[in-house]
Symmetry: D2
Subunit: 348 residues, 4 copies
C-alpha cells in the first residue's frame, strides 16, 4: 500500500483527490491537513465522503506526514515551496497541484506569482507532470509539478501539431472556457451562484498565470512557439473546453490535409489511454469527461483560411488536477497508470 498524505484538503482539488483515492486499491490515506479545520471530520465538510473517508483534518506539522510515502499539496500557490525541501529530505515523494514548481525560469515565476520563490533550488529537479510528454521522467521523479488545468487541455491539443511541424508556431490562439470550480472554494462574491450562473465572460485577457506555463511547455517542442491565451468563465462546475487555432504550414491543395491531420493525431496518441482522439468532424462536449481523467480531442481543418482548429476537453478537477496527480503517483510507484482512474465520465 502506498501511504499518502494530502496537504490542504479543504478545497475542490483536495476533495477530488479523496473521491478518487477512495477507490484506489493500492493507496491508504494517512493524513489530511488543514490549519483551520484541525479536528473536524473530513466527512462533515464533504458529506459525499461519509462512510468512505473516516479521517479528521489535522494541523499541518513536521510530523504529520512522517508515515507517508507521498504527499499531495492541494494548497494555494506558494505553500508547497516552503515545505518541499523538508519533506523530500525525509524520503517522501511530493506532487504539488499548485504552481510552485511548474515554471523553470525563477524571475518569470516571481513576476507572475507576485512573490519571491522560497525554494528555487528544487525547481530544476521538479518534473512537469504531464505523462503524455514526460512519462519516463515522472516514473523516477521524487518531486512532480502537476500541470495547470488550462495548460493540460491546450498542450495536449498542440503536441501532435508542433511535433510534426504542421503549424506555424507563432500563430497559436487558445480560446479557453472553464468551469467555476477552477476558481476554488474560497468565499468570494465574484464566484457566488448568482454572479456566475446565466452568464459568460472572458477574464485576464491581458495575461493569465497559465500563459507562461503553456508557453514554456510548447517551447520545449518548438522553440518558436508562442500563443495568445484567453480564459473565459462558464456556468458549469467542471470542465475546460480549449478551442485552439493555428495556421497550417501546408495548403489546401495538398492531398487530403484533413485526413492527414486526423491520422497524425491518432498516431501520436495511439498508446495514450487518457487521450481520446475523436472521429473527424467531432465536437467533444465537456460533459463527456465529467469526473473522468480523459482528454477528448477533435481536429478540424478549414481550407479557406488554411487554419487548423483543435477542440480539446478535460475535467479541470480530474485530468486538470487531481486525476492527473494520481496518474503521476501511479507512475512514480510503478503501478498500473489507470488505477483509480477507470470510471467513465458521468453523463448526464
Amino acid at each position: 500500500m502506498i501511504k499518502v498524505g494530502i496537504v490542504g484538503g479543504t478545497g475542490y482539488t483536495g476533495v477530488e483527490l479523496m473521491r478518487l483515492l477512495a477507490v484506489h486499491a493500492d493507496v491508504k490515506l494517512e493524513v489530511i491537513t488543514s490549519r483551520s479545520l484541525d479536528g473536524t471530520p473530513v466527512a462533515d465538510v464533504f458529506p459525499n465522503l461519509r462512510g468512505v473517508i473516516d479521517l479528521a483534518f489535522s494541523a499541518p506539522s513536521t510530523d504529520a506526514y512522517k508515515n507517508c510515502d507521498l504527499v499531495f499539496f492541494a494548497t494555494p500557490n506558494a505553500i508547497a515551496m516552503t515545505q518541499a525541501e523538508e519533506i523530500l529530505e525525509s524520503g517522501i515523494k511530493l506532487i504539488d497541484l499548485a504552481a510552485d514548481f511548474r515554471i523553470k525560469d525563477i524571475p518569470t515565476w516571481e513576476q507572475w506569482y507576485g512573490t519571491q520563490h522560497a525554494c528555487p533550488g528544487l525547481v530544476e529537479e521538479a518534473v512537469y507532470g504531464l505523462p503524455e510528454m514526460n512519462r519516463d521522467a515522472i516514473r523516477s521523479a521524487r518531486l512532480v509539478a502537476n500541470p495547470g488545468c488550462y495548460p493540460t487541455a491546450v498542450v495536449l491539443a498542440l503536441l501532435p501539431l508542433l511535433a510534426n511541424k504542421l503549424v506555424d508556431p507563432k500563430t497559436i490562439i487558445a480560446d479557453c472556457k472553464s468551469g467555476a470550480s477552477g476558481a476554488g472554494r474560497n468565499a468570494n462574491t465574484a464566484t457566488l451562484f448568482c454572479e456566475v450562473t446565466e452568464s459568460v465572460n472572458a477574464y485576464a485577457v491581458s495575461g493569465h498565470r497559465h500563459l507562461p506555463e503553456i508557453r514554456q511547455v510548447l517551447q520545449l517542442v518548438d522553440a518558436n512557439a508562442d500563443l495568445v491565451f484567453t480564459p473565459h468563465l462558464m456556468p458549469i462546475i467542471r470542465g475546460i473546453h480549449a478551442t485552439v487555432y493555428a495556421d497550417a504550414t501546408f495548403y489546401a491543395d495538398a492531398t487530403g490535409p484533413a485526413d492527414k491531420l486526423q491520422q497524425v493525431f491518432e498516431d501520436y496518441y495511439s498508446d495514450e489511454i487518457f487521450v481520446d482522439v475523436m472521429p473527424a468532424g467531432s465536437h467533444p462536449q465537456t460533459r463527456s469527461v465529467k469526473g473522468s481523467n480523459h482528454c477528448r480531442i477533435a481536429v478540424h481543418y478549414l481550407e479557406r483560411s488554411n487554419k487548423i482548429v483543435i477542440l480539446s476537453v478535460i475535467d479541470n478537477l480530474v485530468k486538470g488536477a487531481a486525476g492527473q496527480a494520481i496518474q503521476n503517483m501511479n507512475l512514480m510507484f510503478g503501478i498500473d497508470e489507470q488505477s483509480a482512474l477507470q470510471a467513465p465520465g458521468m453523463l448526464p
Copy 2:
C-alpha cells in the same frame, strides 16, 4: 461472469446502467438493444463510454438475449410486460426498471398506466426490488420490479417510523423535488434547457403514477398508511429531495423525542450500507449522492406542532434506478451487494 443484456439502452437509465456496469468486475455486457439505433455504436450516442463500451446497439429480438443470465429493461413503461414471459422461460432473470411489475393490483396499474396489462400472471411473482425491505426475496427472485425513484426516497424516509408506530400513518405528506433526468431523454419542449433552467414548479398535484406505488409499499408496513404526494421539477440533472411530514404519535413532553427518533433511524438502518442516517440537525444535499447509490436521511422533530420532518436524498438515476437495479442483480447472483457501487458521490 454474469452475462447481461440491456433492453432500451438509449435513455438515461440505460446509459447509467452502462456507466456503472463498466467498472463491475463480475459482469460482462453482452447486448444492448435499441430498435431505432440498430447498428450504431453505443459510444457514438454516449461519448463518455468511448473506450469503455465497445458494443453497438442491436435490434431487439427473441434471440438477442440468448447468451444472457440477466436482462435489464430500461425501456418505457409497458414494454417489459410484453417480453417478460418469454425471457423468464428461457431461464434468464429479469429486472424491469420501468413500472410494469410494481403495482400488485392490476386494475390500479391499468388505471394509472392507461393500458391493459399484458402479463398479469407474473405480477404476483415479481419481487419489489427495494433491498432494505425485501433483501431475501430479491436473492431468490427471477423477476424484480425495480422501484420508482420517488418511492425509493419516500419509503426509505418512512420505514423506521411506520415500523415503530411513531407516526400517524394517515397524516403523511411527501413534498418531493426531482431533477430533470427523471423526465427522460425524449425530445420534449417541456424539458428543454430553456424551459427548465432558472425555474421551479410542481406538477401532477392531482395524482402522479408513483403515488399508488408508494401507497402500496407503505401499506405493507402499516395497512392504514396513506399520503399526499407532490412532485416538483428542479433545474438539476440528478437528485431527488423528499421532504416528508407526518404527525408524531408521541408528544413533546415525552422524554427526548428528537433523540429517540435519531436513535430509531440509526438502529433501523445500522446494517444498511446504502442508507446513511445523518447526524441530528442535518440537512442533506442532493449533490452529496450525485452518482452514488446512497440514500442520505435526516430526521427532525418539531415540538410546537408535534410533527416529524424527514429529509431524504438520492440520485434518481442511481439509487432511484440503475444503481438499485445493480444492487438487486448483485443480490440475485449472490455476489457482494456493493459491487460496482462503491464510488462516492461526485462533489462538487
Copy 3:
C-alpha cells in the same frame, strides 16, 4: 417627482430597486449610500446600470438623505432601526426592506434576530407593507415594513382560505423553495456557484426567521393559525415556490369543492393587479414571474385526503422585496400602484 434615497445599495435588493426605479417616470434617485464603496460609480459594480444610473455610492450620513422624500433601506437586518427615528423626524418617509419593523412583539423579534431592538417605539406605528392586506394603511404610512419574501408567497396563498374559514388553521404546512439570491451578495462559501448548482437542500428546518413573521400575519386573519415552514435552497437566481398544504374544513361529498375553491380565490383577488389566480389545475412556474411583481397562484383540492394544496410563486427580488417596496412607495405617494411595475416576466 418623488426624490428617493437608497441605503445599502450594494446587495441584490439594492440593485433590483435601481433596475426598477430606472424606468419609473415619477421618481428621481437622489442618493445611494454604501460605506465600503463611497465614491465608486454604481455602474462600476452593476454594469447593467451603465448609462442608466449615473450616481456614485456615497457614505451614509445624517445629511445624505436631506433632499429625499423617501428612503429605502436595502441593508442587512438591524440597520434601519438605528436610523429610522432621525429620518422620520426630518419628514422623510421610510421603507425598510429588512426585518426591523416586521414583528410587532419585541421579545419575539429580539429572540429571532439575536440582538436588542434599537427602536421599539416605532414598531407599532410601522405598517406591514403587503398591499393586498393593508393597502389603506400603507397609503397614509410614513414607515413601512416591507414583507419578507417567503411570507409574501405564503400569506398570499392562504389569505382567501383563512378569511373564508375554509381550512383548519392549525394544519398548515408551507414547503417553500427559494432561489439563491435570497441569500444575498456577501462572499460566502455556502452560496458559491459550485456549492449551489446541481443540488437541492432544505435548511433551517427547526426554525427560520420568516416563521414568526408568517405566523403573526396569518393570526391577524385567524387567531388560531399556525404553521410548519420548511425553506429549501434551489439552484436558480430568482423565484420562490411555496407549496402550501392545509386540511379543508368541508368534505369531498360537498358539491364541487374544487370549483368553489377556485371561485373563492378568483373573487378574493379580483381587484388585485399583482395577484394572478391561474385556471383550475394549473402548476405555476417561478419563471413566469421572473423580474415581475406578480404572484401567481393555483389551488388544488385532493378529495381522498380532504387537503387543499396551494401553489404560489413570486420573484423574491421583486414581489418579495424591491418590487413590493416600490408598490408601497407608489401607494404612499398616491400615484398609480403599477408605476414601474408593468413589465411582464422575462421568459425564457
Copy 4:
C-alpha cells in the same frame, strides 16, 4: 398607434417580441399567428404574458394581417420569403427575424439554407437591419432583414477597426459563445436540459450559416475582410459572447496603441445609444445585457503578439433578435428609437 402582427409567435423570438411590445406606448398588437395553436390564448403558452397579452393565436392567412401597419416574421427560415411579396403589396411593412433576406447573393443563400429562394426579387430591396450601419436606409425601408444574433455581436465588435483600417482584415477569428435559446423552442433531444447544462461544446466548426452573413457585412466595410467563425453552446438561456481576434496593422512601438484603440471605439459609437464601449481593461459579462437591447464591448491590445482582442456581448433574443427588430420598427415609423427598449438588463 402602430398596428402590428407577429407571424409564428410560438418560439422564443416570438414571445420576446410580445414581452417587449407589451410596454411599447405606440404599438397595438393586432394578430399573432400559429398554424398549430390556432385558437389557443397566447397566455396559455407563455404564462408570463397573462394579463398583458389578451390575444389568442390565429391561423396564418392572407387576411390575418390586413389591419396591420407592420408584420414581424418570427418564423423558421424560408417562411417569410413565401409571403413577403403579398404582404408588401398590401402596403404593410415587414421585418423578417429569420434569414430569408439577409444574404444578397442568391446562390450563396441557397447553398447555406439548402432550398431554392422563393422570392429573389425582394432580396436586393431588403435593408439589413443593423441600425449602427444602416440607420437611414432602415428609416425608409419597407422590408428589413433583421440580422442574426452572432453577426450582430461580431460586426459591432469589428466595425470601428475595419472602418479605421486598424486590423488586417484577413486575420479575423470570431470565437463565439451562445446561450441555448438561440437553438429555438422546438422539441429536440440535443437541447434538453440534461444535455445542455453542465457542459460546453463547439459546433458547426466547419461552417455555420451565420458565417456568410458576417462575411458579407464585413466586406461592405473592407472588401478584403474574411474570418474564421466558431460557435459554441453554453448552458445559459440568453447571451452571446463574441471573442474576436485580429492582427493590428500598427505595432507596439507606436505611441499608446491601447489608448488609441479605446478612443477609436468610443468615438465610433459616441452617438449610439445601444452600443456601450466599456472602460479599457474591461471584461463584459453577458448577464449585464440580459433582457436589454445593449451591446457591451471592450477592446484589448496584446503588445507581444500585436493582436487586438475585442469582447462583445449581447442578449441574443434582444439585440440579437426581437429588440433589434423593434429598434428597426421604431426607425421605420419615425418614433423614438429607444421606445420599449429602455429597461436595463436584469442582474442578477
